[in-house]
Point group: C2
Chain length 338, copies 2
């Protein structure tokens, strides 16, 4: 693909329910020139993450929505290819948030230089980036697993879930992962070392989960909601903690049950002294240095492993993103842009 143009993917329309290809539009534009103090970035990798679904709606959330006609938001790894900023030299590799496009201008604010010698740079979008920090802070600060306790996490082959389970084991807890399909379940059990893996597509999934958690559930790291929540909820022990970082199953508008589940939830919160706590990794930004230190060491010793699912070409980002919302990726979903 010629890179004499800036290729970008914009939000063409807001989804009504499930995201469709028509909600995106690919555009070509002139590559901008950096002004005073600015750098020109060539995007190498684009991260695709569930939170992006929220940005496509105009509902009130913790971040402003993407405007229709604007470039889709997203974390990126980029190379500086022109610089009018003394802090950045041509050839520097940086973590940026430049969205679904091939090139971008930055004034340097919000960029983080990466050292390709320490780890493959794409890991700054995954195990050493936002998903890793989400897992680390949500599990340790909100979930606070104790040795011998049972930690359950869904989307367990994904970047957040896989880190949650492995960190839980490092802290002496029992890790039970939920994933879709035999292949992912084998991966989290045999490759990542989870104590148990349960396939949420199995017809007897709730019973399988119960058997995998003979002592109940002390920490449920919630990132999916829906049917998985319904299966985990009755297993929660007294004083269980539920960090909530995502609800991917309800992002596309599904989720409500025929009956009102709120009174039952509230009663359980009361009689089991449950803690349910939403969070976003940004709240714990001050833990980033400790996280990077710990996670780098766990990667070095092999105590934490990660898997990436790399899609080739920016044009394939919309389809890959729709697959992500359906659980079709297998590992951290990243688009190789250049």
């Amino acid at each position: 693909m010629s890179q004499s143009k800036n290729t970008r993917i914009v939000l063409a329309s807001r989804p009504k329910g499930a995201v469709t290809a028509e909600n995106f539009r690919i555009e070509q534009a002139t590559i901008p020139s950096p002004g005073v103090g600015e750098v020109l970035l060539k995007i190498l990798f684009l991260s695709l993450d569930p939170y992006m679904r929220g940005r496509m709606d105009d509902a009130k959330s913790y971040a402003a929505p993407v405007e229709v006609g604007h470039v889709m938001e997203g974390g990126t790894i980029a190379e500086v290819i022109a610089s009018n900023n003394p802090d950045y030299a041509v050839g520097d590799i940086v973590l940026a948030h430049s969205g679904w496009q091939s090139h971008a201008i930055s004034d340097g604010k919000g960029l983080t230089k990466l050292d390709p010698k320490i780890a493959p740079v794409s890991t700054a979008l995954g195990v050493l980036g936002m998903p890793g920090l989400t897992a680390y802070t949500g599990l340790l600060t909100v979930g606070r697993p104790q040795p011998g306790e049972t930690v359950v996490v869904a989307a367990a082959s994904g970047p957040v879930g896989s880190a949650v389970g492995q960190i839980a084991r490092i802290k002496g807890a029992r890790a039970v992962g939920i994933a879709g399909g035999a292949e992912k379940c084998a991966f989290i059990r045999d490759e990542l070392g989870f104590d148990a893996a349960v396939d949420h597509r199995a017809p007897d999934f709730p019973e399988q989960l119960q058997r995998a958690c003979p002592d109940g559930v002390d920490v449920y790291f919630e990132n999916v909601g829906g049917a998985v929540w319904d299966a985990v909820f009755p297993l929660l022990n007294t004083f269980a903690r539920v960090p909530v970082c995502g609800l991917i199953s309800q992002y596309d508008g599904s989720g409500p049950s025929d009956s009102d589940r709120l009174p039952r939830l509230m009663r359980s919160i009361l009689v089991k002294s449950l803690t349910i706590r939403g969070f976003i990794y940004r709240e714990f930004a001050d833990q980033r240095p400790a996280f990077l230190l710990a996670m780098s060491e766990w990667l070095r010793t092999g105590q934490v492993k990660y898997r990436e699912d790399i899609v080739e070409g920016l044009a394939n980002a919309p389809e890959a993103f729709m697959g992500l919302l359906k659980g079709r990726n297998f590992g951290k979903l990243v688009v190789r842009v250049a």
Copy 2:
């Protein structure tokens, strides 16, 4: 009433929905004699509290249900009228948990001696007892109000709610109380010093509550659920904390809405980083000495006021309890047994 017999009220049957008079039966029995190491108690006051509704069902909860045919459970203030226990003398006044009856035997375990010179002994069932400790620990440990924040509490003329609002103000927060009817609202605003009072029976209650909370709600001390929850929920601010100590509106089986409110709740927990945390005062029993010290001082200085609603005669306990579940009491509901 002759006290040559032990008068007791037993659970005659489990309620189907709302509690009715038929669920109780009054019985006369011989006053038991204390054995070795035991004392005989004459009950002076019986506490009536919402949690007792839960004990009438056989649903799993944090405490075992009362068995059908057994004496209803409850906290009491009692006088030792015979003693074979060297730790207790005839005439001692104690806090006990001897249930809905006029006399009881105790081996001394779980009794707490009270000094009638410090405060009226009935306060050990209210502002200086379980309801006060529930308010103190739930608000300060779970709710953690900061100066200038808005704290909302329902059943605000009751023993828990009235303490929550007054402690919130002592800590520099703004206290908004919800109560049923003009008289209770005037009491919490004019007598207890709440910053605002809102009548949940008003047809435009949600709008009135919103106007009373122009900066949103940072702490919602949940003890009622139902329509009050629905009105408070949209007002919760980012990082709001919701200690849950009761759900009186749904104890009698009402509560579900026509639609499933769970997905909306979970989404708000996520995007507002909410904390919802159930608790029972027993979890914080180690804070009792600090609570007694602080609350005694606040009572002495007049920073905390309390109101009791005293019903005469054990035979009237069932009707008073049914009134409690409908919000008909005004202040801490206590039965004068002798």
